[in-house]
Amino acid sequence: MDQPAVSTPYHPRWLRRRVSTYWWLGKPAYLRFILREGSCMFVGWFTLYLLLLLAAVLEGPLAYELFVAWSATPALLALNVVTLAFVIFHAITFFQAAPQAMVVRLGRTRVPPQAVLLGHYAGWIVVSIVVAFFLLGA
């Protein structure tokens, strides 16, 4: 039951300004957004890299040695350093976005956004400690 409004949906004389292909360079916020979105590709690379590592471990010590040697090549080292930077950037921007997307309630009060943010970082640290325990401790 759309209410009719007497309006002109389109008029040839209205000026329609084109959005430039480089719109994302127009504002720092837009650039940060595109970098954030682009960082998913690097997350994907780390995931693939992890799978390749697992495959190498499963194949045996020789495969593992080859994998480590390959990882030490300058090209791959550079790629992984850049990827690490983007993955950290990804995590930070993701956490920054979390309080806006999540409204957590304890009883009647709303958990303040700072607490949600700190909760994410706390969780990250805890998980990192657990993983480190297994990797380094054992």
């Binding site: 209410q3 009719p4 409004a5 007497v6 309006s7």
Partner: protein, 599 residues
């Protein structure tokens, strides 16, 4: 194909949208057009802050609200209209609540009420301090449900179509294209708001140019009580932005340059630390504005570059209360005055705010001109009399918007189809607009005439008036009307020509200003917001009557008086402060409606 509707509404604010919904609900078969020069959510209803009054508290009664309104209006209110208004106000506010209006609540979920100026009991419903904003958006969004309502957004009505002694539609400019179009109707309802822009310093938005009042006046309908202009006591000094009465209702003090709560010198009671209803800062607006003028004359105001001010002190309310109850006040002061009311004093001065006068209507919104109705600030029923109480105008829009809607619907359904020859008037209007506004090569800038008119009105129709300056003002307005013929319009585009709109609005304002001064000169008494230095007393013998101004054939004003309708409240003295009379009522019919009964 000329667009044709059963009812055409001019103006899409609180009254207009409420009327449209009322028609759609009463008779879904009727076709309705809402013609507004702005998108409806831009209507000036949006800026109302304080609240809307309706009797719901268990210790309140209908009779007390009626008495407060009538005494607040200095007995110039038509009491039958006030009775109907006060009875229907709570129902209208409840209806709005059902439509989603986010009224502020008590902890248990019932609708909250706050004290307000001139009211003996707490009965002002509020949505934080953006009541008008929430009401307008609720009405607008709810109105979108009704397929029978067609909106003409940004169409500027220039004339009413009158034929055979009745109003049969409007002529309007589609601003986007510049096209002049006739829209015919069985009935027309004017909901165009007030005319604050006739003054230089006003809370009103740019769009409050008295369009509907002028349209009615030019079509032959009389305007009523045009001399009564409300000055709101607390406006910010440079911009005139409104600081709501709610700031005083929550406990703010008005102090002069000595830090003294000066209202105690003006028969408004004695100062208490907490707000006491109907005393001091919760007195009626006209008395508070008049007190400012007298403080000014005594040299006790604070001189600022933008003019003399007094201070509104909210510091003792505390940050928590200010953020909870009047956050918009804090936002406005921070943004526009660079100060924080939690820590600083707010400079304020009286500012033109509301027009008690307007198109003469009866209790159902019908004007004496058949087919023409009016509601809201554009109309004068009159429920506000010589001075409006704060928080009565929002429910006025609802109650009389609904009444006018139903009355217009009933009238329109009885009308024969519009005579096609009416549409021919469109050609005349088109020619007039072209000649008067397009093809001229004038020398006077619109802003020059507008500012001179505003200065004249401030001098002649300020808070205190007297015969000599009013007469001078009438002469100046006549000269401005003549100079209007010589204005220059630089914009020759058809597309969204806002200069042409400004010129048309100026011509409306000049007509309205003339009626205001004519009525002010004739009323030789002081009552409510109309204070005459040369006639300082109220004169019920001669002037317990409404002034009706009509246009004569040669363009001048004809004035006549009609008596005020008195039912149960004979004229008495208007008393505020501790001596204010307490009205008791124990009639069962006065019991207020329940304020909360579950989802």
């Amino acid at each position: 194909m000329t667009p044709s509707y059963d009812v055409v509404l001019v103006g899409g604010g609180g009254a207009g949208l409420r009327a449209a919904i009322a028609i759609a609900e009463t008779n879904p078969k009727l076709t309705i057009a809402v013609v507004s020069k702005v998108y409806p959510m831009r209507s000036h209803t949006v800026s109302a802050e304080g609240g809307a009054a309706g009797v719901i508290a268990p210790d309140d009664s209908i009779d007390e609200h009626i008495y407060d309104t009538i005494s607040g209006g200095d007995w110039l209110c038509d009491q039958d209209a006030v009775e109907a208004f006060v009875h229907e106000a709570p129902q209208e506010l409840l209806r709005l609540e059902h439509w989603g209006c986010p009224w502020s609540r008590e902890p248990d979920g019932r609708v909250a009420v706050r004290p307000f100026g001139g009211m003996k009991k707490m009965r002002t419903w509020f949505a934080a301090d953006k009541t008008g904003f929430h009401m307008l958006h609720t009405l607008f969004q709810t109105s979108l449900k009704y397929g029978g309502v067609t909106r003409y957004d940004e169409w500027f009505v220039t004339r009413l179509l009158v034929d055979d002694g009745r109003v049969q539609g409007v002529i309007a400019i589609d601003l986007k294209s510049g096209r002049v179009e006739a829209i015919t109707a069985g009935a027309v309802i004017l909901c165009t708001g007030g005319c604050g822009k006739v003054f230089p310093f006003t809370t009103n938005a740019a769009i409050k140019t008295g369009d509907g009042m002028a349209l009615a006046y030019r079509a032959g309908a009389p305007l009523k009580d045009m001399e009564f202009v409300q000055y709101h006591p607390t406006g910010l000094p440079f911009t005139g932005i409104l600081i709501t009465e709610a700031a005083r209702a929550e406990g703010g003090y008005l102090i002069n340059k000595d830090g003294y709560r000066y209202l105690q010198d003006y028969n408004l009671g004695t100062p208490q630390p907490h707000p006491v209803l109907r005393t001091m800062e919760l007195g009626p607006r006209d008395r508070l504005s008049q007190a400012f003028m007298q403080e000014l004359e005594k040299g006790r105001t604070i001189p600022l570059p933008d003019g003399p001010v007094v201070h509104l002190d909210l510091r003792h309310l505390g940050e928590k209360k200010i953020n909870a109850k009047i956050p918009f006040v804090r936002e406005l002061c921070t943004k526009y005055q660079n100060l924080d009311p939690v820590r600083d004093l707010i400079p304020v001065r009286p500012v033109v705010h509301y027009m008690m006068g307007g198109v003469d209507t009866d209790i159902n919104g019908a004007t004496p001109l058949p087919g023409l109705f009016a509601a809201g600030e554009a109309a004068c029923v009159s429920i506000n009399g010589a001075n409006r109480l704060g928080s009565n105008s929002l429910p006025e829009c609802l109650v009389f918007g609904a009444r006018a809607g139903r009355a217009a619907a009933e009238y329109a359904s009885r009308q024969p189809p519009v005579n096609p020859r009416v549409i021919a008037q469109k050609t005349d209007e088109h020619r007039r607009l072209e000649q008067e506004l397009f093809s001229r090569k004038g020398r006077e800038r619109i802003v020059t005439l507008r500012e001179e008119m505003q200065r004249t009105m401030e001098a002649s129709a300020g808070i205190y008036r007297e015969a000599a300056s009013i007469r001078k003002g009438i002469g100046e307005l006549q000269r401005l009307q003549e100079r209007y013929a010589d204005i220059v319009i630089e914009d020759h585009s058809r597309t969204f020509n806002t200069e042409r709109v400004s010129a048309l609005e100026l011509s409306f304002l000049l007509d309205i200003a003339q009626t205001m001064l004519t009525a002010a000169l004739a009323r030789e008494e002081s009552r409510g917001a109309h204070q005459r230095r040369d006639f300082p007393k109220r004169d019920d013998q001669r002037f317990l009557a409404h002034a009706l101004v009509s246009r004569t054939d040669d363009g001048s004003c004809r004035l006549e008086y009609v008596p005020v309708t008195i039912t149960r409240w004979p004229p008495a003295e208007r008393v505020y402060g501790e001596a204010a009379p307490h009205v008791k009522s124990d009639k069962a019919a006065d019991r207020p409606l329940s304020s909360g009964a579950g989802v």
